[in-house]
Symmetry: D2
């Protein structure tokens, strides 16, 4: 069991809002093991949250909170100079809100993954990273904390005593300093399923990923993200699953991946 590599597949879901539909949640849900559900600040609303929790439960997909900046028009993708206190309380608020739909539908939150600009800032800014981790540990120290290996965010999760799931991105270009290529740059979001699945293979099997300048970045991943708003999300997830089958890589929920590591 220990010799077979094992990884979780996560995607951001529940990003629709009021009259607006975003992504292809019902199909993506059939291909992932962990769903990051928007909590109503950058995307999502109470109906969308309820529906996404229920759909995840029906398909046996684990759920996590996906808190973001309170910037709906910017989809939480714009840096906002919030204080650590603002971040901590905004994240607490959002975890609690999603938890109401988990509790009332008989499921448990598995993890928390910050969204967009909040995630990116927390990757490098120690105080913001600590604020996110503090919100999570204050709510429930058993929640899995999603962060890239080597980041301030991972460090904050470990410091807080949270179980940490190290994340890689199958559909995003990496700079050589391990940051993600800016979405402003054409090609930063990878839409080719073969390319994305090759990168997934690199990360899980070879513990490295090719960078935008042609080098290699060493990386450890417990979970792989495919963006639900990637127009090719379905094809990419299918390609990854085929590749992993060929590679003998098991796909399992974030919580089970962590358990396998411990054992």
């Amino acid at each position: 069991m220990l010799t077979r590599p094992c990884v979780d597949l996560n995607a951001d879901l529940g990003e629709s809002f009021g009259p607006y539909t975003l992504g292809n949640d019902s199909q993506v849900l059939r291909l992932i093991t962990s769903a990051n559900i928007a909590c109503g600040m950058h995307a999502g609303d109470p109906r969308v949250m309820e529906n996404t929790v229920r759909a995840s439960r029906e398909l046996g997909v684990s759920i996590g909170a996906h808190p973001g900046f309170p910037d709906r028009v910017g989809f939480g993708r714009r840096n906002l100079e919030a204080t650590p206190l603002e971040v901590e309380t905004d994240v607490l608020y959002q975890i609690g809100a999603l938890n109401a739909f988990a509790v009332s539908n008989g499921v448990q939150l598995q993890h928390v993954k910050a969204h967009g600009a909040l995630y990116n800032i927390a990757v490098s800014q120690t105080e913001i990273a600590a604020a996110v981790a503090r919100a999570v540990v204050r709510f429930d120290p058993r929640l899995i904390f999603v962060a890239p290996v080597g980041s301030a965010l991972e460090h904050a999760g470990i410091e807080a005593g949270l179980p940490v799931s190290r994340e890689g991105f199958a559909d995003r270009g990496y700079n050589s300093d391990s940051t993600l290529q800016s979405r402003q740059i054409p090609g930063a979001v990878i839409s080719d399923p073969d390319n994305a699945s090759e990168r997934a293979h690199q990360m899980v099997k070879e513990h490295r990923v090719s960078t935008v300048d042609g080098g290699w970045l060493p990386i450890q991943v417990d979970t792989l993200c495919v963006h639900g708003d990637n127009p090719n999300a379905i094809e990419i997830l299918r390609a990854i699953r085929l590749t992993f089958e060929r590679d003998g890589i098991a796909i399992a929920k974030m919580a089970d991946v962590l358990k396998a590591k411990v054992s």
Copy 2:
């Protein structure tokens, strides 16, 4: 113990927002036993919620969620024709959000009281009342449900199996059909402490209250509300406490008032 009448004093708190301060929470908290805390849809924000939960805990005041319509500019006081599903999920969302600040500060939610227009609509509309009760019972069936005696809201709480605390308003005029006088009408909000405390006395001791047309309305109350944004809130609460001392009426938390009734 059984012979001594007993009532809870509640007020709406945590209605400040961002740069704006509303009410006089720190003083009101010293005079009440249960705080209804705004949950960020009609008023309040995550910092205000955190601070209000902490201040309540320090003074031994029990806390409850005070969910309202998503209408910040209208302060949740304008009727909104939301569907039962919209109401149920909006209320669930708000209870969960507040609960995060309760849990992470080591206190438990005691009750849920709908705010403003949502409360008023639920007093008479069966489907909306049921939607509010469903949200509460789905989250936690031990939560106390605040509603006026004889209302659709009280009925929905009982039907859902929730403990119900029957509420009277010390600082609002009553119509003879037991509805509150509209805030549009001058005098609908009672600012005279003697008048308000006399009405509190009527409700708790005499089980009736004088109506705006000069009659009497029979009423049963377990909790009395004084509005935190009433400019005389402090004076009214002090006058009520003096009156109750004179009357031999005990003041106790909502939960303890219900326990006293049962025993």
Copy 3:
């Protein structure tokens, strides 16, 4: 000229928001003569408004403000018990906001059409209708006011001295009292192009429309609405254009239809 019937085709556009796309604006714009552009309260945002004004200008489509209730999650389709003062100032705000994009792109606002629940309420409530008309006349008394014939809204426009364009809905069922069938009822939104174009023909050529209970409603229309979020909007507009060609009905901008009537 006078003998040939003439009508405007309008549609609600610019209802996208932040990361969300709604409707098929670029195609709809090629088939209509007047665009009702959302103003950022119920839908739309400044980028969407700018783009929609520019796309309309390029295709020679006249533009109007489409103000709605401040209820983004409900898309302005839920009744909100706003005061006349709230409605008047909200509408003024929205007209002004859109006008900035008109002025700065070298085009003039042609008309104002209230959206969703605001429109529906103003159809029957005199005070709300007057509030909408007051906002329009205060901003610019030359703006065309869109309202159904015989409604409180039409009356308010006439009273305010505004030019009124009487509107019919090609893709909505009519009750015998001339109100629109509720969107809650299946079939209330007509998606069959033949049915919709037949109704357009009835309204413009026969001055009547069949009602949901099988009768006929007399009606006068200067402009016909097809909803941009109707999945068949394009097909319906094409069918109407074919029918009108067959019927010898001219399609012209709202302003030109009114001029033709006067001459």
Copy 4:
């Protein structure tokens, strides 16, 4: 006339919102010559905008738009990494919205002054400064553009061909690089009327102001800002007026100050 120094006094007004009151607008209005009115993104709402325009008109105070970031809970004081296009369209939107209340109340907009974090960013970031100026010039090239002397914002206004009013802050500490001391630092907001009026005297009469490190900063000002939410705003404005009377400094509207310079 030319020999007598002349300056405008401006303040940010109309920052109340829904149920919340901020500042002391009615008193501040009696002491200033130009009002910067919030436009509904960071503060203000349509009722507040209408009332503030009317109150300004009654007291002969000139009005300007005070656009900010769409961040109500942060009061527009948090940096937001918006694109130049987002800034340009957000500013256009807000100018247009306020203009509706100006037009419909028979007054003209005199100026535009960016708010809070938007102003601060535009002081140093060329592209954001250009975006603000572009919005203003697109709406009306006669609008006066408020900016600190020597800033990227002033430069952008001049480049765009706008009349520029150079602003100094009487109630804020200056760093030696001419930036304002951060509000996070205690004492950054000056509440002592004597200190503030002495600084006003320095800026207008001596063309310099003392910095937080004890040096002197050369500065040119056509308009002086006192913050409406400064608890001592009234006392500061009174002290400035007394000082200016003593100094022989005339107080005049922004537009008249610029005319006096030209003549």
